[in-house]
Amino acid sequence: MNTQSEIERSHLTDEQFADLLLGTNPSAVQAHLKACTQCAEEAERVSGAIGSFEQHSRLWAERRAATRPALARQPAFEWLYRPQAWAAAALAVALAAGFTITAHNRRAAAVPADGSQTATAQTPSVQAPATPAQTTLPAAGQSTIAQAEPAPRVSPATLKADNDLLSAIDGELRAGQSTPASAYGLTVAVQGIRTRSNGMINE
């Protein structure tokens, strides 16, 4: 049996004190607390302070939590409410548009280089013979401009010779055939019709 002086000389160690606060009270610690008022008071003071801290911090947390909006259920389409999703979608659209425009520009830049589609209305050319299904008769006085097929380049001299030949043929045909109008003494002025079944002439 320890005497009072021995008890006072050997107060609770830190480990014993921590075990006391943790609730594991060995019999030696219990005996010491009964005999040593200093350790008993200190244990009461520390555990009381921790209890006060627990109480105060709980009140603080409850007040703080009460002032904040509560979490709501997540909507079914949660991503609709996320700005990151919208930013990603906008970026994807911008990238797609960029690729499309770039590809279009490249294609447009490549066409003049080979000259395959540079036929214009101002270029005099003799068109390749059209199939009957593709042949269209223009209205009177309207020049025919064909753009569907690339036309071979013809020199002006050749073009003039062709036109003279066709004019001569026209003249012969008009002179040799009677039309319903000529039969009744009527004159019909037909100008500018250059389309023939075997081809078209543009000037």
């Binding site: 107060h11 160690t13 830190d14 480990e15 004190f17 921590a18 606060l21 943790l22 200093q38 200190e42 003071r45 520390v46 009381g48 302070a49 921790i50 006060s52 801290f53 627990e54 109480q55 105060h56 911090s57 709980r58 009140l59 603080w60 947390a61 409850e62 007040r63 703080r64 939590a65 009460a66 904040r68 509560a70 979490l71 709501a72 259920r73 997540q74």
Partner: protein, 194 residues
């Protein structure tokens, strides 16, 4: 971020699975928000950061509720998630974190204006407030691990096994941190240190 507890730190079944509250985010928020807020606020020393962490924690828990296997209490699982989030913040914003610990820690003097009515007298209320303040100051001197296990044990009243599950530490490590934390608090409260 790890949502499920590591299998090696789960030693025993401590609680029945309470999946109903995990399936209802409003119930989850109502039941656990203030507890988590207190734990994270005093772990980090930053109430504003604690708000963010708790928000993330509850959302992670709700979204990952299928990972909860029911082999520990829901709060233990939530504390584990919150602790990982705190560590993430520590890693990513170490400087700001430690700077804020000393500048924006929860102020006991503010919170103690709402004292429970069963306190015996104004003097005892004042004394309790001062002691709580001393504990709060002592907590700021602890490392994160010491502070975490101290809060879990004495404030959240988790047992050692639950602390092991939430922190992933061995029980001997938990005890060591607890002893050091108690020693610091005891010293701050004017106790005798051997």
């Amino acid at each position: 971020m790890q949502l499920a507890l590591d299998p090696d730190i789960i030693a025993c079944v401590t609680a029945e699975p309470t999946l109903t509250e995990l399936n209802d985010i409003e119930a989850l928020d109502r039941i656990y928000r203030s507890r988590l807020l207190r734990f994270v606020a005093y772990s980090t020393g930053d109430p504003d950061l604690a708000e963010t962490v708790v928000q993330d924690c509850l959302l992670k828990a709700y979204n990952g509720r299928d990972n909860f296997r029911g082999d520990c209490a829901v709060y233990t699982w939530l504390a584990h998630i919150a602790l990982n989030l705190v560590r993430d913040h520590q890693r990513t914003r170490k400087f700001q974190f430690w700077r804020k610990v000393h500048s924006t820690a929860p102020d006991i003097s503010e919170m103690s204006q709402v004292l429970p009515s069963h306190e015996s007298s104004p003097e005892s209320q004042m004394l309790a407030r001062e002691r709580a303040q001393q504990v709060s100051i002592a907590l700021e001197t602890l490392s994160l691990k010491q502070r975490t296990v101290f809060l879990m044990r004495f404030i959240e009243e988790m047992d050692l096994q639950e602390i092991c599950q939430a922190t992933g530490m061995q029980i001997s490590t938990v005890k060591t941190h607890l002893h050091r934390a108690v020693k610091a608090v005891r010293f701050k409260l004017g106790g005798r240190i051997e």
